[in-house]
């Protein structure tokens, strides 16, 4: 039986006459990393804040580890950790003071191990304002998990970070997941969501428009796949574009690039053609639509059908 740590049923939230979240349902399995995606105004931050207990829903029910998150706040506080997108610490507070302060409010011993694990040991007496963006994020993440929460909410954790800092933070997120923490990630970074997530939920106008693993989401789209072929003798290039199912074709310096919706059929045809023409295959690359392309497709489709984005 699947162990769901989060259950959301009919979640609704309005701001005046604006419907921010429109009766959404989803479950999250324990130990999984789930990304919530959507354009600005889709309802992802509102949904997250309802899950985190920061906003009171106007309807529906949210259960975290079997208990309602609106009635049992103390239980919720012990079960979840939150790294907010728009939060900061007082600029004069040092790293060690911040750790001591929040551990004290959580009534737990100071977690020096986390400062060490997140590479902040050399910054104990550095003021928050003097930390780099990456160090601030790592400190924020360390503070969010001082009480070993079962569920961790991350809102745009890598926004504005350089490549190295992103890789470091992805590594930490991966470690937390391996340690059994359930992670809910809100992000605009499709590559990040695709590489880290077990499940993706795409919100649009307060409703879930797609849900599944990254592979499932990209597979269900109508986007074309890109097939790049390189042979020893490029005489077959002109014939390639006549193969069935080819939507478009162009030549680059080394490759014939085909676009097709039916990968299996096209690849088989390409291989047969190469064989029958006596040519030799040097390189064959298949690029399925990325999550980003699928995301754009979904949002565009919604724009066309509803006129709203």
């Amino acid at each position: 039986m699947t162990d769901h740590i989060i259950r959301v049923n009919g979640l609704k939230k309005n701001y005046g006459s604006t419907i921010a979240v429109d009766g959404i349902d989803f479950d999250i399995e324990r130990g999984k990393l789930v990304s919530i995606l959507g354009p600005n105004g889709a309802g992802k931050t509102t949904s997250l804040e309802c899950l985190e207990g920061l906003l009171k829903p106007d309807g529906g029910r949210i259960e975290i580890d079997g208990k309602s998150n609106t009635t049992d706040k103390k239980h919720l506080s012990n079960q979840i950790g939150i790294q907010l997108q728009s939060s900061a610490l007082p600029e004069n507070l040092t790293v060690l003071e911040a750790m001591r302060l929040f551990c004290s409010y959580r009534r737990i011993p100071v977690r020096s191990d986390l400062l060490s694990r997140f590479g902040l040991n050399g910054k104990l007496n550095t003021r928050f304002s003097n930390l780099s963006t990456g160090q601030k994020r790592r400190l924020s993440l360390a503070l969010a998990i001082i009480h070993n929460p079962q569920v961790l909410f991350l809102d745009e954790p890598t926004a504005g970070l350089d490549v190295q800092s992103r890789i470091e933070l992805h590594g930490i997120i991966g470690e937390l997941k391996q340690g059994g923490t359930t992670i809910i990630l809100a992000t605009h970074d499709m590559a990040e969501a695709e590489s880290l997530s077990d499940k993706i939920i795409i919100l649009l106008n307060g409703k879930i428009v797609a849900e599944g693993s990254p592979a499932e989401i990209t597979a269900t789209g109508d986007s074309v796949s890109r097939i790049s072929v390189r042979t020893e003798n490029r005489d077959i290039s002109e014939t390639l574009k006549l193969l069935p199912g080819i939507e478009s074709f162009h030549l680059t310096d080394d490759f014939s690039v085909l676009f097709s919706r039916n990968i299996e059929e096209t690849v088989s045809s390409v291989l047969e053609l190469i064989k029958s023409s006596g040519d030799t295959l040097v390189d064959l690359r298949i690029e399925r639509p990325t999550l980003e392309e699928r995301f754009v497709e979904i949002t565009d489709l919604n724009k066309q059908t509803t006129g709203v984005l």
Binding site: T18, A42, S86, A88, L101, S104, R106, R107, S140, L143
Partner: protein, 248 residues
């Protein structure tokens, strides 16, 4: 409680690292005190009689009215309070701590003023020193209550500054610091009666210099306590963790 005490210790300690707080709590009031001490006795010899309470109240007002609201506004707008909220810090801590921290800083400044006024400028030494401490506390309570209230209701640093000045400037002009309450025009006295500084000056003069009461002391006690209590209660009710508009 242990967490609150630690938070208080950190807040007070980090206060010494904040340039703005250091300026408003120490440099500005002490600089003003030295300037007034050098200039005012030559213009008005009677100023020395009120110098100690006037400068103590001035120090409290700069530390609270000018020093407390802005960090409260910034705490909301910069997401600091959101960060505190998700990490389990109670709202009451954020309201009370700046006040307690102000008490510590004000006591230090007050000690300096009390010692230097007679030594440097020949101000009369108070007849009773001990009542000065609870009176300082009461004045801080009243001014800090108003300051926290301003910090809670202001949507920006600019608006908090305007609200603070609406209290600070009249307090300087007609709040008994420069001109004794008895010397004010009758038409101005009702306005002066609304200002904490008027009542604080009244009580200081009664209890530390044993001078005649300009206003019955129980009225001044009631006004200072009432303003402080009402302001703190309203601040707690109206407290918001952030300025975030209803986003989606």
């Amino acid at each position: 409680m242990k967490a609150f005490i630690l938070h208080f210790a950190i807040e007070t300690k980090s206060g010494f690292r904040k340039k703005q707080q250091m300026f408003l709590t120490y440099f500005f009031p002490l600089g003003f005190f030295l300037m007034m001490g050098a200039v005012m006795p030559q213009l008005n010899p009677l100023f020395l009689d009120d110098m100690i309470p006037a400068m103590l109240i001035f120090a409290i007002m700069t530390s609270t009215l000018l020093g407390i609201p802005d960090p409260l506004v910034n705490g909301r707008t910069n997401g600091i309070f959101r960060g505190y909220r998700v990490n389990g810090v109670p709202a009451m801590s954020l309201i009370i701590l700046p006040v307690l921290s102000s008490v510590i800083h004000t006591l230090l400044v007050s000690t300096v003023i009390m010692i230097l006024s007679p030594l440097l400028f020949g101000a009369p030494i108070p007849v009773n020193i001990l009542p000065a401490i609870p009176l300082l506390m009461l004045t801080v309570f009243s001014c800090a209550g108003l300051s926290v209230f301003i910090g809670v209701i202001s949507t920006s640093s600019k608006s908090s500054m305007i609200w603070s000045q609406i209290i600070f400037i009249p307090s300087m002009l007609i709040g008994g610091l420069m001109i004794p309450f008895q010397s004010l025009p009758e038409s101005v006295k009702p306005v002066a009666m609304l200002l904490p500084s008027t009542h604080s000056m009244n009580l200081f003069k009664i209890f530390i210099y044993e001078t005649e009461a300009a206003i019955p002391p129980f009225v001044s006690f009631a006004v200072l306590s009432g303003i402080g209590a009402a302001a703190f209660i309203l601040a707690r009710i109206l407290f918001k963790w952030d300025n975030k508009k209803a986003g989606r």
